[in-house]
């Protein structure tokens, strides 16, 4: 197996002393980001991105992806101990995690959460290891119509699988595309929507949008709730870890279902958040103790955590192989790759194998290291949350301002970040999803280019999108997903009230 030897070579790259150090730093920073409100995987990585420009791309991406794993782990700590989801994908973990902590089983809940996160991520990495080279080889045959079709599929699946009203998902997406169009049109050299403002020539950078939407927006929401953090203490001793680990194999079926849901939702950009809800819902329906869900059942922690991590990790598969990120965080990582001059996509596997396999190897190692770190350091993270918000809030804002400034060394960006912050607050409160906006902003230019090139090839006829079997299938799938809410609604009407919706709505 050629790929396996590549992977072994990747381990050799990742296991150097320097890269291991970056991995440790990355995981620690990631957990910190995951624990703090207003900083998450996406904007945390966006803020730290400029710091990595002096590193080698391989070390940098290893550190950044480790921040991502860390943030995924960190989200669980706050939801279980404080009933505050540090990240949107850990909302479902609060349903049973916090009740468990209230019953004095915080240690069990945390161990189960971390271990399931590890299992979910591991499952997804194995999938990436075997599927990524295959998909990359397949995608080498893609032309502009196929690329546009894949992007169409990406965006349609947001509409079809999102939990938000379809019209709002479409608004968010189109707003992203519109913002991406601002500035110099690369094909014709025309200025679009700049209205004489020189700062807009470059258009809107999605990193600024991410920092504002997820950073300031989140802080404003937290201020509104007037949070006083009242947490359970989170001590984990080895005996509890061991006891919980011994009980976990019993829930293999729940885990496996969660892994599959997570991988599916991660590859098609449903994302980690819907994956965790869906997995929770499925676990409740299948479990013998379904009616006890919500009172602190361990399966209610395992299911969403496994799925969230499987989704978060597998979101990197389309990013690496097709250049299409499956989540906002993957989009930020993609932005980083572009800045280092690495064009993600099928050619990356051919041209920079040591980079790709180094990254994949670091996913394996990063998750093992992450699991060990979080299991041993939980009490300290919990202590951070006891720092009053009147200290944390201005510090996070300062970090966001610095992050926005360092992207282009431009003060104008910091103001734009504030505007996006207010937009993020409004969107969150009115339940407009933000991930489609970010992804459209990232992919806007390449989607437009692919569309125009397809149109050029076909002389402006849309029929190019079903000119061959491959592109036709992808487009058909995309349209199917787009119309899925309508179909689901009709099925629901026909069946009457077949099954109850999940108990609690996501509030973040």
């Amino acid at each position: 197996m050629d790929d396996l030897s590549n992977l072994m070579h990747g381990f050799a790259v990742a296991l150097t002393y320097k890269n291991m150090l970056f991995m440790l730093v990355g995981i620690t920073l990631g957990v910190l980001i995951g624990v703090l409100p207003g900083l998450g995987g996406a904007n945390g990585i966006a803020i730290l991105l400029p710091l990595t420009f002096t590193m080698s791309p391989t070390s940098a991406i290893i550190m950044l992806s480790c921040i991502y794993w860390g943030a995924l782990f960190g989200g669980a700590i706050t939801s279980i101990l404080f009933n505050i989801p540090g990240e949107p994908w850990s909302v479902a973990t609060t349903f049973d995690g916090y009740p468990m902590a209230q019953k004095g089983q915080a240690g069990e809940a945390l161990t189960a959460a971390f271990t399931s996160s590890f299992v979910g991520a591991f499952f997804a990495i194995v999938m990436i290891t075997f599927l990524a080279p295959v998909i990359a080889r397949f995608a080498l045959r893609f032309g502009p119509p196929e690329y546009f079709a894949i992007q169409l599929l990406t965006f349609c699946s947001f509409v079809g699988m999102g939990r938000e009203p379809p019209a709002k998902t479409i608004v968010s997406m189109m707003l992203g595309f519109a913002l991406a169009a601002v500035g110099l049109d690369t094909v014709t050299g025309t200025l679009r929507m700049t209205y004489g403002v020189t700062n807009l020539l470059q258009g809107f950078d999605f990193l600024i949008a991410v920092i504002g939407l997820f950073g300031l927006g989140e802080i404003l929401l937290t201020m509104e709730e007037g949070l006083a953090f009242k947490g359970k203490s989170g001590k984990i001793d080895p005996a509890i870890v061991w006891k919980t680990w011994k009980s976990l194999p019993r829930y293999w079926a729940t885990s496996l279902r969660a892994c599959l849901v997570g991988c599916w939702m991660g590859v098609t950009p449903g994302g980690a958040t819907p994956a965790s809800f869906m997995s929770y819902g499925i676990a409740r329906r299948f479990s013998k103790r379904g009616h006890e869900f919500g009172d602190g059942v361990i399966e209610g922690v395992i299911a969403p955590e496994t799925a969230a991590h499987a989704a978060g990790t597998s979101a990197l598969l389309p990013m690496l192989t097709l250049g299409i990120p499956g989540s906002p965080t993957a989009a930020v990582l993609l932005g980083g790759l572009l800045i280092w001059g690495l064009q993600p996509g099928p050619l990356l596997f051919v041209e920079k194998p040591e980079f790709v396999w180094g990254l994949i190897a670091s996913m394996y190692l990063g998750n093992v290291v992450g699991l060990l770190i979080v299991l041993t350091t939980v009490p300290w993270w919990a202590a951070i949350l006891r720092i009053p918000f009147s200290i944390i809030a201005p510090i996070i804002l300062v970090i966001c301002a610095i992050g926005a400034y360092t992207v282009h060394n431009n003060m104008f960006d910091v103001f734009i970040m504030l505007v996006f912050g207010v937009l993020g607050y409004l969107f969150k409160k009115l339940k407009y999803p933000m991930a489609p906006l970010v992804l459209a902003l990232v992919l806007g230019d390449s989607a437009e280019t692919a569309f125009r090139q397809s149109m050029l090839a076909s002389n402006g006829s849309l029929s190019v999108f079903w000119s061959n079997g491959l592109v036709g299938t992808i487009v058909a799938l995309a349209l199917g997903l787009l119309l899925w809410p309508v179909v689901a609604h009709l099925i629901g009407m026909a069946r009457g009230k077949g099954h109850a919706p999940p108990a609690t709505k996501p509030s973040a």
Binding site: A181, M223, I391, P394, E448
Partner: protein, 171 residues
């Protein structure tokens, strides 16, 4: 974050339906702006292919339509949405207490540099919102600013906006 169903809407609160409607109409306007600009740069074909407005034009159309759908849906459910509060007056106050200082902070960065502005912002916010003693607030803010300075200017060599104080110190 869930709309407050039980309490109903009190005087001075912002109603969800109004907010929903205003945002939806703003989206329609944003879509129209995109359409207008696309028409300006041209949405048709030229000799060498589609012009710059070709793709954004459709984006603008879909954006306006989706905004209109949300507005209409809100109007149709107008009575049902009557008891939902977007934000109460007592919730809006802390939000503004965060937002307005943030805006002032960002404006001051341009004049006195990011480090001094951050020091004033963090210490000021702690004293105002957290009722901390001035010396404790100053100590924490100073520690953070010095830490940031070393991290960015010294270790990672990322220059941040500096003002008169840094110039006086020789940076």
């Amino acid at each position: 974050m869930e709309p407050n169903h039980a309490a109903g809407v009190n005087k001075g609160d912002v109603e969800t339906r109004w907010m929903e409607l205003v945002v939806a109409l703003l989206i329609v306007v944003a879509g129209l702006v995109v359409i207008q600009d696309s028409l300006r740069v041209g949405i048709r074909w030229e000799a060498e292919g589609p012009r710059a407005g070709y793709f954004p034009f459709y984006i603008g159309v879909i954006l306006s339509l989706a905004g209109a759908v949300i507005a209409l849906k809100t109007l149709r459910a107008w009575k049902l949405l009557a008891d939902r509060t977007f934000v109460t007056r007592s919730q809006l106050k802390p939000v503004m207490q965060m937002l307005i200082p943030s805006i002032i902070y960002v404006i001051t960065i341009a004049y006195i540099g990011i480090y001094v502005a951050s020091f004033i912002f963090i210490a000021g916010f702690m004293m105002w919102q957290g009722k901390y003693k001035w010396w404790l607030a100053a100590l924490i803010a100073l520690a953070i600013c010095v830490g940031l300075f070393y991290m960015f200017e010294v270790w990672f060599l990322v220059p941040l906006p500096k003002g008169p104080l840094e110039a006086w110190l020789g940076y």
